[in-house]
């Protein structure tokens, strides 16, 4: 083999190994994170974690029951606020939209999507917290809700557009109005995609911390209703991990494990549904 040929073959093999290494590093990081969280977090998971309130500062024990409930309430609010607006907005873009306004909507949706979450927190602070003169679950829910809208709009639009026009036309040819055709035929056909879109959206905002820091703030106790500041899993993880107490670090690991497991489970489930649906369509 000539020198030129040999050199090129060596370069070929070397680059294969180098790029493979890059890939394994990236993939390995995820596995490492999972493994580390499992080892450190799952170990100290106890019934207390899920049922008790945080213990007074400096004392050991206690749990994160209020944070779990708080996260659930915040996400409920976010979904209630963001999903209808995003979904119906997506329906508009896919079914009714005129070119100019649709462009404006898509552009601003992308813009909003790119806003750093901390800036979103500032916005909701000025919009809600300042007007109410106190931090609240409502403010946190609104912040998370606004963050879900751009993604909900784009993903709903995408899945609705993927429904073949033939289905719409078939319904309308039977006498259905456009709205009826959309409601009874198009949306059910896009169902799988829309639901998985909502799931992925949920998983994304479940882990958001920054926008909650000065909207929902935090709370070491229960926070009934919607007008009090509330604890949430991500904020607790943050607060506990930067504190000097070993016990709190341990709880931060547990909380991290619970949070990540839920987020990854939802992600994997959503992908499975999507891939099954895709396979069925073929």
């Amino acid at each position: 083999m000539s020198w030129n040929r040999l050199r090129r073959k060596t370069v070929n093999a070397a680059m294969l190994m180098l790029t493979a290494f890059c890939t394994l590093f990236a993939a390995g990081t995820l596995l490492f994170i999972l493994g580390y969280l499992f080892v450190h977090g799952a170990r100290s998971l106890s019934w207390d974690f899920f049922t008790k309130l945080p213990a007074p500062v400096g004392e050991s024990g206690g749990g994160m029951a209020n944070a779990i409930l708080g996260s659930a309430k915040l996400l409920l609010l976010a979904m209630a606020f963001g999903v209808p607006l995003g979904f119906l907005g997506g329906v508009y873009l896919a079914e009714f939209g005129g070119p100019g306004f649709s462009f404006a909507v898509r552009y601003t949706a992308d813009l909003l999507n790119g806003v750093p979450s901390i800036v979103m927190g500032i916005f909701v602070f000025t919009l809600v917290v300042l007007k109410q003169h106190h931090f609240s679950t409502l403010a946190g829910g609104v912040a998370l809700g606004i963050m879900t809208i751009p993604i909900a709009i784009r993903s709903s639009e995408e899945f609705l557009r993927a429904v073949p026009p033939a289905l719409r036309e078939g319904a309308m040819a039977l006498g259905a109005s456009k709205a009826q055709a959309i409601w009874t035929v198009v949306i059910p056909a896009a169902k799988a995609g829309i639901i998985t879109g909502i799931m992925l959206n949920l998983a994304r905002v479940a882990g958001e911390t920054a926008p909650l820091l000065f909207t929902a703030l935090s709370n070491r106790f229960w926070s009934p209703g919607w007008n009090q500041p509330t604890a949430s899993l991500p904020v607790m993880i943050f607060n506990y991990s930067v504190a000097p107490y070993e016990d709190w670090h341990q709880q931060a690991w547990s909380a991290g494990f619970v949070l990540l497991s839920l987020i990854l489970a939802v992600n994997i489930l959503a992908r499975l549904i999507l891939s099954k649906k895709g396979a069925a369509l073929r």
């Binding site: 083999m1 040929r5 090129r8």
Partner: protein
Amino acid sequence: MQAPIRDPGAAAAFSNSGAPGETKPLVNGAQAKLSATNLNFFYGNFQALHGISIQVYEKHVTAFIGPSGCGKSTFLRTLNRMNETVRHSRVEGEIRLDGHNIFDLDVNDVRRRVGMVFQKSNPFPKSIFDNVAYGPRINGFGSRSAISDCVEQSLRRAALWEEVKDKLHQSAHGLSGGQQQRLCIARALAVNPEVLLLDEPCSALDPIATAKIEDLIFQLKDSCTIVIVTHNMQQAARVADYTGFFLMGRLIEFDNTTVIFKTPSKKETEDYVTGRFG
């Protein structure tokens, strides 16, 4: 285009599938540059080529004709091992280049020696010069001036030099379809291949561009063995010395072009060339 004299004693002996041991001497002295012996090709479980045996003669033009899906392009791609880019594909049998089995040679070397021009022109998004210079550069052809000479020579061989010599550093995408295809031919020629495989090179071109490329093929065959796949029988009749007729993954008949078109021995061949099907 002169039909070589039939010589019963000449070297070339091969058999089509289903006709073992049958000798069809066609050549007076011309060497077989490429030869396939009992070649089978599989996509997964599907067998696309059945027992193809054929000889491609040096410095002559060989055409493969046949209806869509007959396997002529598939077979062409085995000749420079491009079929290996398809996953789950499998080859059985031998293909020899100058007597050496190409599956034993280094694949990149085979591809340099057996060049290919594709159905739709595919210049790189680089300048005209860089397109043609790519092959020489990676094969270490030498200094800048050597490569520059090589580019000019290849463009001349492809009858494109006069049209592009003043805009060598402009993008290749600015050329017309016919020019782009000639650029691809120049690019393939730049690595000095011994064989040039043309996979329906004119199917996307207008008649004038097609005529230019057919003229090119006449000029090139003195220096290069040419194999052309074409769905246009008249083109085969115009340019090729030898023609092979493929049907359903089999080589039905292979002979001088005049024989194939005027006095074919197999009924399927006659049906195809007279237009009864395909």
